[in-house]
């Protein structure tokens, strides 16, 4: 049976599927009378641990009244003497595990609520579902291991980023998420960790588990109980893919140096911090683009300074002495934070990137302070997105100085000499690269937007897809101008857009004078392999011929 979904993460996986949603993972066996005491003790422990956890959340989100009230209700549910005694009765009378008792208890409550006619009240069953799944998840974490994930294909209603990470650590071979989108954090992580993944199926997990399954992450296909021919075909393709990955992984110890001896700084882009787990095997030269939009999207409240500081610090400490370029939030355009909703007719030409930051200075400063403080723990640089003129850099630099003065007066440790650079992704910035380079410690070209703005093509619009051409002479000319201006000012140029991750463009970029490439983790070795095969003089000739 062939099911069609969204292709999320490249590759093929063949294996037996298991459903990892809690309700299918409930440890259920008949216990003895003696064992009931153990299960009841587990109940007490898990309830008090969960209440502690809720107290912690409650303090953490002290400003948010609605969420605090929900937490308060959940605590009340956990402290409910009637419910606790119901669960205990189930364990003792049915002789089942705590997990099963929690599930049976929820079923009973569901029945009770279903008798309520007033929908406003019956809808509260959701709180009981939440609490039960919180307890079950917690129990799972301490009680079950992921041993049986090895070489398996994991299936869930919605696979979470932490499950993707667990899948990676436990050597699962593929992922199927019934719901989800290509832009979700789980999808990003699966791509970085190179676990084949398909999302968005209209079928249920019952049709997929537990059978032999093929996940085709290139086409977005899931084949349940494949025929012999199908299986043979995919096994051959999988063998080819594995051979290529093995060959590429041999490059880990090699440096990214061209035939004529030019060392190319080969860096990685990350969108969410968990991706650093994919970088261990790559021996990267640093992180060329650490996006920070994840902190602002998909949530109601803004991230505070401490939260950001901890995240930046953790990444910096993971790569001591390697450069980590943190890009300040690039919101606006198609990425809008819930707390910063603005109505715009033409958001891509609207309030986005550095423009938005300079308008919402209080939010901007929280991030800059967090970066400056975290920079004490490593080699962190700051980069601004969507700069269109010199004065924006001057303004942003002024704000950084203000933050440094504040941090000093507060007695907090911070980095006083931090490298500051800017993205070049608007044609006006490329045209004025000379002036901009004088105000910066480095430049980084964002090719996706540079192509979009230079050629006036919306890159998400299928109707004009043919006009989106990365190698249009006008785009290449701008890249060359930026490289020349930067080198005259004595600073380096990186490319962190998608062009840097595609090996067909490596020769052109090096030929135009780019010093550093920052790729997605999944393409890192491929690009390294390409660099090793290139000669910069030949690249230059080739690039010039395209102008």
């Amino acid at each position: 049976m062939k099911l069609t979904g969204i292709a999320v993460a490249q590759g093929i996986a063949i294996g037996k599927s298991i459903c990892i949603d809690y309700k299918f993972n409930i440890i259920n066996y008949q216990i003895t009378n003696k064992e009931t005491a153990r299960e009841l003790k587990r109940l007490e422990e898990i309830i008090s641990a969960t209440i502690n956890e809720l107290d912690y959340f409650s303090r953490k989100i002290s400003g948010n009244k609605n969420q605090r009230e929900i937490i308060e209700t959940h605590k009340m549910i956990l402290e409910d003497p009637e419910m606790i005694s119901n669960i205990k009765t189930i364990v003792k009378s049915e002789l089942v595990t705590l997990e099963k008792a929690l599930d049976l208890n929820l079923q009973k409550i569901k029945e009770q609520f279903s008798e309520i006619e007033d929908e406003y009240f019956s809808a509260r069953i959701i709180d009981y579902q939440d609490v039960t799944s919180r307890l079950l998840k917690k129990l799972n974490k301490t009680e079950t291991d992921h041993e049986n994930w090895n070489e398996h294909i994991l299936v869930a209603q919605e696979i979470t980023p932490s499950q993707v990470l667990e899948a990676f650590k436990n050597n699962a071979s593929g992922l199927i998420s019934i719901h989800g989108s290509r832009k979700s954090h789980s999808a990003i992580l699966a791509r970085s960790l190179q676990i084949p993944m398909v999302m968005g199926l209209s079928d249920s997990e019952f049709e997929i588990c537990p059978y032999e399954v093929i996940v085709d992450g290139r086409e977005g296909l899931v084949i349940v109980s494949p025929s012999k021919q199908e299986k043979t075909k995919y096994q051959q393709e999988l063998a080819d893919i594995k051979r290529i990955i093995r060959e590429l992984s041999l490059l880990a110890d090699k440096e990214a140096i061209t035939i004529d001896g030019k060392v190319i700084s080969l860096l990685c882009n990350i969108e969410i911090p968990q991706e650093i787990n994919a970088l261990d095997k790559l021996r990267i030269a640093g992180i060329g683009l650490f996006r920070t939009e994840f902190l602002y999207l998909d949530r109601k409240e803004l991230p505070d300074e401490e939260e950001q500081y901890e995240i930046y610090k953790e990444v910096a400490e993971r790569f001591p002495s390697k450069p980590i370029t943190i890009r300040t939030f690039d919101l606006g355009g198609d990425k809008i934070a819930k707390s910063l909703q603005v109505e715009e007719q033409n958001p891509n030409l609207g309030l986005r990137g550095i423009r938005l930051s300079l308008k919402y200075l209080d939010i901007f400063k929280v991030q800059l302070r967090a970066i400056l403080r975290a920079a004490v723990h490593g080699n962190i640089k700051i980069m601004f997105p969507m700069v269109s003129n010199v004065s924006e850099i001057e303004s942003a630099r002024k704000i950084i100085r203000e933050c440094q003065v504040e941090l000093k007066s507060e007695g907090l440790s911070y980095q006083n000499n931090i490298e500051i650079g800017t993205m070049i992704e608007i044609p006006s910035a490329a045209l004025r690269a000379k002036e901009i380079a004088l105000k910066c410690d480095f430049l980084s070209i964002g090719t996706n937007d540079l192509v979009q703005y230079t050629l006036a093509v919306d890159r998400n619009n299928d109707l004009v897809a043919e006009y989106y051409n990365e190698t249009d002479p006008s785009v290449l000319l701008l890249i060359q101008m930026v490289c020349q201006s930067a080198h005259e000012a004595g600073i380096k140029v990186a490319v962190c857009g998608e062009m840097a991750s595609q090996e067909k463009y490596t020769a052109i970029l090096l030929g135009l004078g780019v010093d550093e490439l920052s790729t997605s983790p999944a393409n890192y070795n491929e690009i390294k392999k390409k660099i090793i095969q290139l000669d910069t003089k030949e690249c230059h000739k080739y690039a010039v011929s395209l102008l």
Partner: protein, 90 residues
């Protein structure tokens, strides 16, 4: 033992937030609290009990407190009801 009749006066009735408040207050007292709606009687210290009453706006309830601090308990719960649980009254 004290028995008091009371009417739900806040717009959305005893939904999650007011029920949470009520249970939280009730558990601070040592006396037993029962809440009765028609033939159903529930433990006033159990959120599940109070929620399943599904007491909407205008519902008449009977509060039954029994114990050493029953008087204070009843007064406190009455105060919650008369203040409409700090929510909009209809």
């Amino acid at each position: 033992m004290i028995v008091k009749r009371i009417k739900v006066t806040n717009e959305y009735g005893l939904h999650a937030r007011p029920s949470t408040l009520l249970v939280k207050k009730a558990t601070q007292y040592r006396s037993v609290l029962k809440i009765r709606k028609d033939e159903i009687e529930v433990n006033g210290k159990s959120l599940l009990g109070v929620l399943t009453l599904a007491a909407a706006y205008g519902t008449e309830l009977e509060l039954i407190a029994d114990g050493i601090d029953e008087k204070e308990l009843i007064e406190e719960i009455e105060r919650l009801f008369s203040s409409g649980f700090d929510e909009a009254k209809k």
